[in-house]
Symmetry: C2
Subunit: 250 residues, 2 copies
């Protein structure tokens, strides 16, 4: 069944109101008709099955027939702090990271980030990334759309670390040195409901200075296996490993 996220105020006890892009998608793209079923989520506690009871080119009204309890969110809240990568890699990290359960994405400008965001264009970029996250969340049956923050400076990132229960840094040198158990040890100590931050460098990796500052602030360096992963692969590895640890090893 096709899924749509709506704002809380668009979902009453009995009905869901869909507007904007969703109307176009339901009427024009999916060519749905009265009585057709869709799944709607309010991006918080409610996910419902409903049938289309009326539509115009402005809005679609759907009657709620069943409340679902999908439980498709990771037991831990994972934020991906991604050093700004080149090209469209961030799009890709956000699409795949959303499928794999990330709670939030926090792009940051690392020393070795070649890309710099033009302040003026930042809002447009975030908007685009939010659209990618919304579509990936719908496609993967998520209950919540990950939050995407504007680009942080490294200093601002450091100031944020204390807000997380666990801070993990994907560290290539650990992988090269054959360090293997750290990530598993950290995850074994983490508890459901906790906030985990995964810091991943850009293409060139994070610098020794950045590593030093991060560890001073309590971050733990972890290798993600003995192979050297591209920056856009590291986030996916971390999220898949966290899903395996908290969702499948039960």
């Amino acid at each position: 069944m096709q899924r749509y996220f709506v704002a809380k105020e668009q979902m009453t006890d009995h009905n869901v109101q869909l507007v904007g892009e969703d109307v176009k998608h339901i009427v024009k793209v999916m060519r749905m008709d009265l009585g057709d079923k869709i799944v709607c989520s309010d991006n918080d506690a409610r996910t419902v099955i409903c049938t289309i009871s009326s539509y115009s080119d402005k809005e679609v009204i759907a009657e709620i027939i069943e409340e679902l309890h999908p439980e498709t969110e990771l037991p831990v809240k994972v934020t991906i702090a991604q050093g700004l990568p080149k090209g469209d890699k961030l799009d890709y990290i956000i699409q795949k990271g959303t499928e794999l359960g990330a709670t939030a994405f926090l792009p940051f400008s690392a020393s070795r980030s070649i890309v710099k965001w033009d302040e003026k264009k930042a809002d447009k970029k975030i908007e685009r990334l939010e659209k990618i996250a919304k579509e990936a969340a719908e496609q993967s049956y998520r209950e919540r759309i990950p939050v995407i923050s504007n680009v942080f400076s490294f200093q601002k990132l450091l100031q944020q670390l204390s807000a997380y229960d666990v801070v993990i840094v994907a560290y290539e040198e650990s992988a090269k040195a054959g360090e293997k158990a750290q990530l598993a040890q950290v995850l074994s100590k983490a508890l459901p409901g906790q906030n985990i931050l995964i810091v991943i460098g850009p293409e060139g990796g994070i610098t020794e200075d950045e590593v030093a500052s991060l560890t001073e602030h309590g971050a733990i360096l972890c290798g993600f296996g003995p192979r050297i992963l591209r920056t856009e692969t590291a986030a996916l590895y971390a999220l898949a490993a966290i899903s395996y640890h908290f969702e499948l090893m039960r």
Copy 2:
């Protein structure tokens, strides 16, 4: 250090001979000079550090100064049987799957595969995919380049299943039904050195008939977490989970 795969016969006890594309890459792209160090692997047992001792536009000769024992291969041999996906997704699955340690890729024509390979163009396609795998293997410090087979029919895939110790089918319905422990249970029973086949359907998923045939042949249906993953994400999830299980949880 830049890494290159060479054929066994190009590596003697003392020297490595590099030819073709690698010469262009060393001389033109990397602009290396005599004495510069590179890492070479014979795609089997040997990975060595060597220094460039001579070069022409035809070949580069490098003197071996150290034998390495990287141990970057997964403890289990994982083959990804991928139902032919649309567009360039197979390129992507092979690049990322190689980074994550896959031993081989076995594309197959599933009932819901929209793409069909033109026999005449198949060899060219495989060649392109092998180049992607070689580059990803070099970049990720692999000791071996994954093998990429030509497209199998579903019947031919079924005949192959007995060649593997464990056959896992990524099954969306298991995920939707909230099945959670199966993959972890299967991996707990698998032993280092064993051959694991992961069967993944194309965009539309595998059909009930295909599922029935696979299970009749001993395949085990596994959910990869409660979220619905795109076809190109499923292989990465499986490989990351296997890496986490066999390489980090030790």
